[in-house]
């Protein structure tokens, strides 16, 4: 999104219902600010997030995607985030292999008590993505002129 020549990134944050979404709520309760560029999608567990969703977000114009879940060992469903961790590691590996800038995707474990961490993470992520600029590569990957 380009408004008045100032680049504002589009950022999708997938948050698990039990820890990270609650952490985001707590950030709100504590009035811990972060940019409005971040939009949260609630999922039951980080293991519900299909790499397809992340690619789809990029396809539709997202500049950065972040996945937040319960800390390993604290998953509401006991093991969900362990699977999510492996899947995301592999997805990130593939994106990096394809030459996509690192940092466009991120995983962060945020507990329901970590409102401050949630806000800090989002501030940091927005900064990273703003520095990276618009995401063109994934789309351009196929369009060799």
């Amino acid at each position: 999104m380009q408004v008045n020549n100032e680049f504002r990134p589009k950022i999708v944050a997938f948050c698990c219902n039990w820890c990270s979404y609650a952490g985001a709520d707590l950030a709100g309760t504590n009035r811990a600010n972060y940019p409005a560029d971040v939009k949260i999608i609630r999922v039951p567990c980080s293991c519900r997030v299909n790499p397809m969703f992340i690619l789809r977000a990029f396809q539709r114009g997202a500049d950065g995607v972040i996945l937040c879940g319960c800390h390993p060992g604290d998953c509401h469903y006991t093991t969900g985030n362990y699977y999510a961790r492996r899947r995301m590691t592999m997805l990130f590996s593939m994106l990096s292999y394809l030459g996509i800038e690192k940092g466009r995707t991120r995983v962060e474990w945020v507990s329901a008590a970590e409102g401050a961490k949630f806000a800090a993470t989002m501030n940091e992520f927005v900064e990273t993505i703003t520095a990276l600029g618009e995401n063109k590569r994934l789309e351009d990957l196929r369009c060799k002129k």
Partner: protein, 666 residues
């Protein structure tokens, strides 16, 4: 396209302060599907809810979006309101424009823009929401307790007291567990048997309790409210109904040299035996590996002397199948094997014993009839050394059997042992070598202080390096005193090792059967470490006693009662309503590859061969997955593991999430 209504909440100024709610309602009102959009100061209020209810009826809404606080706050409220107006409660989505928008953004323009995007995402999602109906499953009003130690006994008694039938499965011939072997209990020093035996008898007499002794759980299927369990009743070769427990067979049996489990092998029993005098059920057992009749076909003496005619050499093991609504694991613990600790000379000297063996020596029905004696020569020991933390708090164990955790009970029982020695035999010198003394608990530290101050037990901070048996039968104990920083040599007559405790070996296979999770130490995992400490993450499976983590008797009894109350709460319901946001497999697309079942933490997915034959392509039978909706908790791990996309999650379907993604990225 569904007819959607949008309701924007001001939350006083909480939202309206930084989000232009009028603009949000106006803008969202122009979305193609939206037939009605409005705003109101407090949507969650009675009046606010009525606005929603009225609009549903007036505008024939087929989907509702409320832009308000977090769904964690009021989703349930709005679902109820929607439902009251005749719309399926799951045709509602909440856009979180307070916690995740107005409260964190100061700029009105940015906040309003974001609230609109969040609203659009909710509209996109609700378009695809399916009307869901929470399923119901009946509850079998019977509980199973696995393990008949004090944990299992207490749980069973509490459940039975509430009026529900409960079965105890105990793998040994008698219930009672470890507590039967213990002499006195800390910090009150009352006799363990005296407080346990009445409870055991109560179990036997309570008409709601059935005891399956000498039995093991063979298989578990089903789910919360409706478990089906196979119990294997081992053959004891004695008819439980006929045996009076007179004990004549156990006296006449000519095989006398079988190590006695009750005394940890410190004495012998017969091949026909009753584990101990107060055993429940008080029924004899024939040891099938040692009985001459059962191994060689001769003898038969016990049968001749049994006036009740209870001996049955032909008895076979049987399988009992029973249905339960809830299962409690109470499998308990064992001290670790310490043969690997060569430095303590445990395998070399009879006078180096574990703490549990020491209990047996102190107890009146033990191998020494309760007299403090050395097992080697029967002499009364004059100097006793207690070694703490043998195998506990060991990281990177070189012994291969050490545990990283603290076994929790050793400090207290060692203080008890030391005190009992000094009390009964004041001329005994008692040393305790420790890393730390940990005695939190009511009257616990006072108890330990008494051992030190009143009974003059020598507590020395430092570990024992070596125990060397001497030619004169004594034991040379080499240790370091960390406080005075010197090497000590104590000539002892007896050394007692506080061996770490570990979960019973039967726990892991049981956890697999129950699909309950375990930690790396084989302790059962709680559903939540703090808030749900007696529930396993698997619905309907509860935890009682040391199988969940090291604990002493009062804690065990407290947890046993807590587990019982959870069970009672479950059994009190006639039906369980299930979370309808569960996984669902599309059979037409399922490959039957088991990827989903591999990642399911609840064992909710099963497979069956199904006939998909069609006239045009002939016979076609495929293996396909199906989800047990009562077991599935709706995490969605399976949906991503499934390569074909056959597995989807209701309420958070792939297309719903994609629609949200699209709306946000537009």
């Amino acid at each position: 396209m569904r007819r959607i209504g949008v309701f924007v909440c001001h939350c006083g100024t909480n939202i309206a302060g930084t989000v232009d709610v009028k603009t949000v309602a106006e803008t969202l009102g122009k979305e193609p599907a939206v037939v009605y959009a409005t705003d109101y100061p407090y949507m969650c209020s009675e009046a606010g809810q009525n606005i929603i209810k009225d609009a549903i009826k007036e505008y024939k809404l087929e989907g509702v979006v409320v832009c308000s606080c977090s769904p964690r706050m009021h989703e349930a409220t709005f679902r109820k309101a929607v439902s009251a107006a005749g719309l399926n409660p799951y045709l509602l989505e909440v856009a979180n424009i307070r916690e995740q928008c107005s409260w964190i953004h100061k700029d009105m323009e940015a906040g309003t823009a974001k609230a609109i995007v969040l609203g659009r995402a909710a509209i996109a999602k609700v378009q695809l929401n399916a009307p869901l109906i929470a399923g119901e499953s009946p509850v079998v009003k019977r509980a199973l307790v696995i393990g008949g130690g004090i944990a299992g006994i207490q749980t069973a008694l509490d459940i039975a007291d509430a009026g529900y039938p409960v079965d105890i499965v105990e793998k040994e011939p008698t219930i009672g567990g470890k507590m039967t072997q213990i002499d006195k209990t800390f910090p009150t020093l009352d006799c363990s048997s005296c407080i346990l035996t009445p409870k055991m008898v109560e179990c036997a007499q309570n008409e709601n309790i059935t005891i399956y002794s000498y039995s093991e759980v063979e298989a578990v299927t089903g789910f919360v409210g409706n478990f089906s369990v196979k119990i294997r009743r081992k053959a004891r070769f004695v008819d439980e109904n006929k045996c009076t427990g007179c004990g004549v067979c156990t006296e006449k049996c000519p095989v006398k040299n079988v190590p006695d489990e009750y005394n940890l092998g410190l004495s012998n029993r017969h091949a026909a035996y009753i584990p101990f005098a107060q055993a429940i059920p008080n029924v004899a057992v024939l040891d099938k590996n040692r009985c001459i009749k059962l191994t060689k076909g001769k003898c038969g003496l016990c049968s001749t002397v049994c006036s009740a005619g209870a001996i049955d050499y032909e008895q076979k093991e049987t399988i009992v199948e029973e249905k339960y609504g809830a299962i409690v694991a109470a499998t308990g613990y064992n001290p670790i094997k310490i043969d690997g600790y060569d430095e303590f000379a445990y395998s070399q000297s009879k006078d180096v014993v574990t703490s549990l063996e020491f209990e047996r020596i102190l107890k009146a029905d033990g191998p020494t009839d309760g007299h403090l004696q050395r097992l080697s020569d029967g002499k009364q020991p004059k100097t006793i050394v207690f070694v703490q933390c043998v195998g506990s708090r060991e990281s990177g164990s070189s012994h291969g059997c050490g545990k990283e955790y603290c076994s929790k009970i050793c400090c207290m029982y060692t203080a008890k042992h030391a005190m009992l020695c000094r009390e009964k035999y004041p001329d005994t010198d008692v040393y305790v070598f420790y890393i730390d003394v940990r005695t939190p608990g009511k009257n616990y530290d006072e108890f330990y202080r008494r051992a030190v101050e009143q009974y003059g037990v020598h507590y020395i901070k430092g570990m024992v390096g070596k125990v060397a048996p001497q030619a004169d039968g004594s034991l040379m104990v080499q240790a370091s005193d960390l406080i005075s920083n010197e090497q000590l040599h104590v000539k002892a007559d007896m050394v007692v090792l506080a061996a770490a405790i570990e979960p019973d070996k039967s726990a892991r296979p049981l956890a697999t059967m129950l699909t309950a999770s375990m930690d790396t130490n084989d302790f059962f995992t709680e559903a939540h470490a703090k808030l749900r400490p007696v529930e396993s993450p698997t619905a309907g499976v509860f935890l009682s006693g040391v199988c969940q983590g090291p604990k002493d008797i009062p804690e065990t009894v407290a947890q046993a009662g807590a587990a019982a109350s959870k069970v009672i709460g479950l059994l009190a319901k006639d039906k369980l309503s299930c979370n309808p946001c569960v996984a669902h497999s599309n059979e037409m697309m399922c490959n039957g590859c088991s990827s989903c079942a591999n990642v399911c933490p609840y064992g909710a997915i099963t497979y069956a061969d199904k006939d998909f034959s069609r006239r045009q392509d002939g016979s076609m039978i495929r293996r396909v997955a199906s989800v047990n909706e009562a077991v599935c908790q709706g995490c969605g791990a399976c949906t991503v593991a499934c390569p074909s996309g056959a597995m989807d999650l209701k309420g958070f379907s792939t297309s719903q999430i994609m629609a949200e993604v699209d709306a946000i990225c537009k």
